[in-house]
Symmetry: C2
Subunit: 642 residues, 2 copies
């Protein structure tokens, strides 16, 4: 046994000689961001060796200067003696400091109200099938000595008009004591089913006014939990954090691979339920003085992989041809089945998936976007860890998934990071001196750059002539922020370490730009292929709804300029926030909306881009700023010609 | 901490200074029989102190000679230093060596066949609603890429004609792997519900011929588990043992009291499920090469307290006026809900109870006895740890419970024991020399006397003139087997220690006899009160069915002679074995029989003896050999007058 001292966490742990450092940290719940799940390809799990020797190798991700300072990749390191390790706060905190949509309460309310409005205007009922009632039972006597369960059933038959009651064993276990401690005055929460009711909760006394539901969006990157009063239908509170599965990889593919390892599926399931959702629920309960047993219904939305891992279902065939998901529509679930920190009998409904890579987050998003009720043609783009696109109106809906990769969350970019504290979220570059002006989340020193910042940066680099339309840096610019390494790869310095309190410069290089161009090209070509498959083009679009974690700071103009979004009238674009969460919320507060959501799942058509004949050509044409065919971007053309 | 060495178990355990010795043994799963659950009233937890000192007291249960040898009551002893303890094998083995009805395979088959015959002759269907089918699914392709769950549902819709499928999460979790490892050739076990099926089990390949159910009788004293082939309806195998709850008390009252202590309910629930039923199931699986997942339906019968503890339901109000049971009819249960060692989705049905002291063992017994279908008047007597009586025919059924106490299992008798190895099960006494002839279970040295032996003994003592009709030993008998102690209490020596290899004589004294007379009086007066409540008397009885653990060795003639059973034609008496188990078996193999069982539970009338005006007089009159009014026992009268 050897000892690893994680000085940053003030934690000493023991492990076996030769253990992998990333695994050692994971086992002790020390969070080290590892987007590629330890396959030595992303270079994000960089930690600093303070003391002792390790068995490791320098990789391309580590600069000479960093190597000298002791930086190593945790995933590429074996522990061979007692060591001291510092985990940079950027890595360990990124799960918690993450910026999640909805911190702006006013805008947030607008988004929820707008969605509610769609339900109202289409005459969907704001009802759930869950009822809570205070009842007073006759106390038993020697002459009236029927059993406790029969007493309750008799009341229900005589006073509520149902023939039969049903309940979980746990409820029966406590029934005798609850009846006596309350002198047979209790509150029951139940679900009606024809002539029968299923009792979800039994409480002492009158607690009739406490009835809650929870909507959850499980993103690959972040998770948002939303507590709802089932009487008023109002969102009482929200809580969010990174998805603790991040430590097993940034994208669904890395997670699926990890799930096939020994206990991998269990680790991933525990990460999202025990380490992410349950603590978030607990914080909501404490903040709002609510008992978990009063949370009796949940709607959960996530992509197909997230839905599967949420239930602990074997996921690997999602990834292997012919890409078969284990399930699409929600199985019947109760809180207890998945170990959720809610009432054991709470109904859990998963938004239905459409295909392996178009999941419940998209069907829920489409519900909240109201495409199903729209006469207009709507293009729905979800810019999350994957990119999913839906096009349609009330008569039909087509969907596809783009292999966008995690670039919008900073993946594939050397100094990329998620939208958490220290992330550069907006950039403008001075035309004259090429100096950048940065907006940083948390108003602290910059740590890296997040999705919206990258879009701005690339756009600004293009407009200021730092890069050409292929994304290559011009060689002839004589500026101290532009430099080339020994392999002739150019980079632009966003922040010199001397400008802030940094260990290293923050830079973006040509490889990063190339990665990002492929991501934006995948989205654009996905959308155009989808619409072309109907024999139409972008001109038929009446509205574009942009959803996803990239957030409000997405600059539409800049996004069009680099060719991420089509060059159509700017007023057609709307940012609709975390539409997956909003859709879950709607299905939670309205039985009709839930049926509608299920319908969307059943009826949406899925287009598999990889087998679509023209997609590859479209994609290659889109890997240009803004596009090989500049005629598709008339306003950009005129701007660049200026 | 001090050390207790249980030499008999070769086990050293540590405990705190002052810990109760019985508790120390229980915590280590060292079984010490404690019928009164440690209330220092039964004297059965006698152990031998081999080394060290303890804080204890001599009680009336310990003879001077025993005290000198180191015998102490475990329940009355505090550990104050390191000690060595010997647990007499009689105490620790009684749970396992117990003689359970059914070891005689031929008689056993007769009993099951007789019951099956009743079902047949009344045109009840031998069907269950569980079906097992081998199916071959289409393997997925890029063109046929629906989800695994949808593929199964599509097959069911197209080939089996049901619209919808339903299953537990665990089944979905394994579905993807099972489909691939079997090349999509699987066997499903399902339950039909109108247009829908619930899938209980999914297996690779064709396992269509493996479909099993289990019937369980949970007695207060012993538990029998019966494995049934659901195709042939045959009993494949049986297993039985003592109920591990015995360590917490011999009768339901002591168990209920224990259940209110800290973790008491959990201990009792664990004792019956984890320590009794699950190991019995496991032994059946191993012996018959069966996988637990193929056990998909269970019927369980036990008295009201056993049913309640089986589910871990709070039980204490059963014991307190107005004696309210938590439930009577079975809640909906699956194997997983109660941690049974069967398929997680297996349906578990509890035979319905009628009242606090007439439980599912009686309704199941009545099902198997066929009273519900009988034109004749049938008296059903269950001689178990409690005594329950049913009287009726196909038009009505009346039931009552007698506070018989555990005398039929040897409780309340100083040398009494359960029908396990070493128990004297038959006795005859020579008229001349008053020497007994003993039949001993296991053909070993005698250890004590069990229920059937006590009946024989008292009858023989009466007939040979050792005792009078009050149960008092005649003073003027000059015989070495008869002696009186300093309090003038007489005893009869069944076995001198010199005759066998014993530490002490085995004796029965006047207090024992008195206890037993009260037990038999409770049964007799219960039956007569029940029949009188209908304005009838014993002459209307066409048949008497005797059920319960007391077993085949019950001597009917002797039982009438002492006034336990009414003095009517001997050919009317039938021993029907463990009718609770047989009834459970019938409900297991026939849907119609299960409905009938539920009907019996709903329709049987319960007579509360304690509030019945003439019951106390009847009881006092019956506390005589055979009865105060000898005219009720004409054949006994003539015999005694001889």
């Amino acid at each position: 046994m050897v000892k690893v001292n994680f000085t940053s966490h003030n934690k000493e742990v023991y492990c076996n000689l030769g253990d992998n450092l990333l695994e050692v940290a994971r086992n002790e719940n020390i969070f080290i961001d590892a987007p590629c799940n330890g396959s030595v390809s992303c270079g994000k799990c960089k930690v600093k060796l303070l003391k002792g020797k390790v068995d490791t190798e320098k990789t391309l991700h580590i600069k000479d200067e960093e190597w000298k300072q002791g930086y190593i990749l945790a995933c590429n390191t074996k522990v061979i003696e007692n060591i001291e390790i510092e985990v940079p706060s950027k890595l360990s905190s990124s799960m918690y400091g993450m910026k999640i949509e909805g911190s702006d309460k006013k805008k947030d309310k607008q988004i929820f109200d707008r969605a509610k409005n769609i339900i109202e205007t289409h005459n969907l009922d704001f009802k759930t099938n869950i009822v809570k009632t205070y009842i007073e039972l006759d106390e038993p006597t020697l002459d009236d000595n029927i059993s406790d369960a029969d007493r309750l059933e008799r009341y229900v038959r005589n006073n509520l008009g149902y023939n039969e009651i049903d309940f979980k064993l746990e409820l029966l276990r406590n029934m005798p004591v609850i009846f006596r401690e309350s002198n047979f005055k209790v509150t029951i929460t139940y679900v009606k089913k024809k002539n029968k009711i299923t009792i979800l909760n039994l409480e002492s006394g009158n607690t009739q006014d406490k009835l809650y539901g929870v909507a959850i969006d499980i993103g690959t990157t972040s998770v948002v939990v939303c507590l709802v009063d089932l009487y008023t239908k109002e969102v009482i509170d929200k809580a969010s954090s990174g998805n603790a599965q991040l430590k097993y990889g940034a994208d669904v593919i890395h997670r699926i691979i990890y799930s096939t390892k020994k206990n991998g599926l269990k680790h991933l399931n525990d990460a999202v339920i025990k380490e992410t959702i349950n603590p978030l629920l607990q914080s909501l309960y404490i903040r709002n003085d609510i008992h978990k047993d009063n949370v009796v219904t949940l709607v959960v939305a996530g992509n197909t992989t997230m839905s599967s891992l949420f239930l602990g279902v074997y996921t690997d065939y999602l990834r292997q041809e012919p890409f078969i998901p284990p399930f699409l529509k929600s199985p019947k679930l109760m809180g207890e089945d998945i170990g959720l920190n809610v009432n054991d009998s709470a109904y859990v409904y998963l938004a239905p998936s459409v295909a392996s890579y178009v999941g419940g987050d998209i069907t829920a998003g489409v519900l909240s976007a109201g495409i199903w009720a729209s006469d207009e043609n709507i293009l729905f783009v979800d810019l999350g860890t994957n990119g999913e696109i839906v096009f349609g109106n009330k008569d039909y809906m087509m969907s596809c998934a783009c292999s966008a990769g995690p670039a919008f969350e900073g993946g594939g970019i050397s100094c990329g990071m998620r939208a958490s504290n220290g992330a550069i979220e907006k950039v403008s570059i001075d035309k004259e001196n090429l100096n950048p002006e940065l907006t940083i989340i948390g108003k602290c020193d910059p740590v890296g750059i997040c999705g919206s910042g990258i879009i701005d940066l690339i756009c600004q680099m293009l407009l200021t002539g730092i890069i050409d339309r292929r994304g290559k840096i011009h060689k002839d610019l004589n500026n101290n922020r532009i430099r080339f390494n020994e392999h002739d790869i150019g980079e632009y310095v966003l922040a010199f370490k001397e400008e802030y309190n940094l260990e290293n410069d923050i830079t973006v290089n040509e490889v990063d730009i190339d990665n990002f161009i492929r991501t934006k090209g995948a989205i654009y070509s996905g959308a155009s292929t989808l619409i072309e498959s109907l024999g139409m083009d972008f001109s038929v679009i009446d509205k574009v709804y942009i959803a996803g974690g990239i957030g409000n700071n997405l600059n539409i103009e800049n996004s069009i300029l680099i060719g991420l979004l089509p060059d159509i009238e700017r007023e057609k674009f709307n940012y609709i926030g975390n539409s997956s969460l909003v859709g879950s919320y709607l299905a939670l507060i309205s039985k009709d909306a839930k049926s509608k959501l299920q319908e969307i799942g059943n009826e949406m058509t899925y287009v598999e881009l990889s087998v679509y004949p023209t997609y590859m050509d479209e994609f290659i044409s889109a890997c240009f700023l803004p596009h090989t065919n500049i005629e598709q971007f008339p306003t950009v053309k005129s701007l660049l010609e200026d």
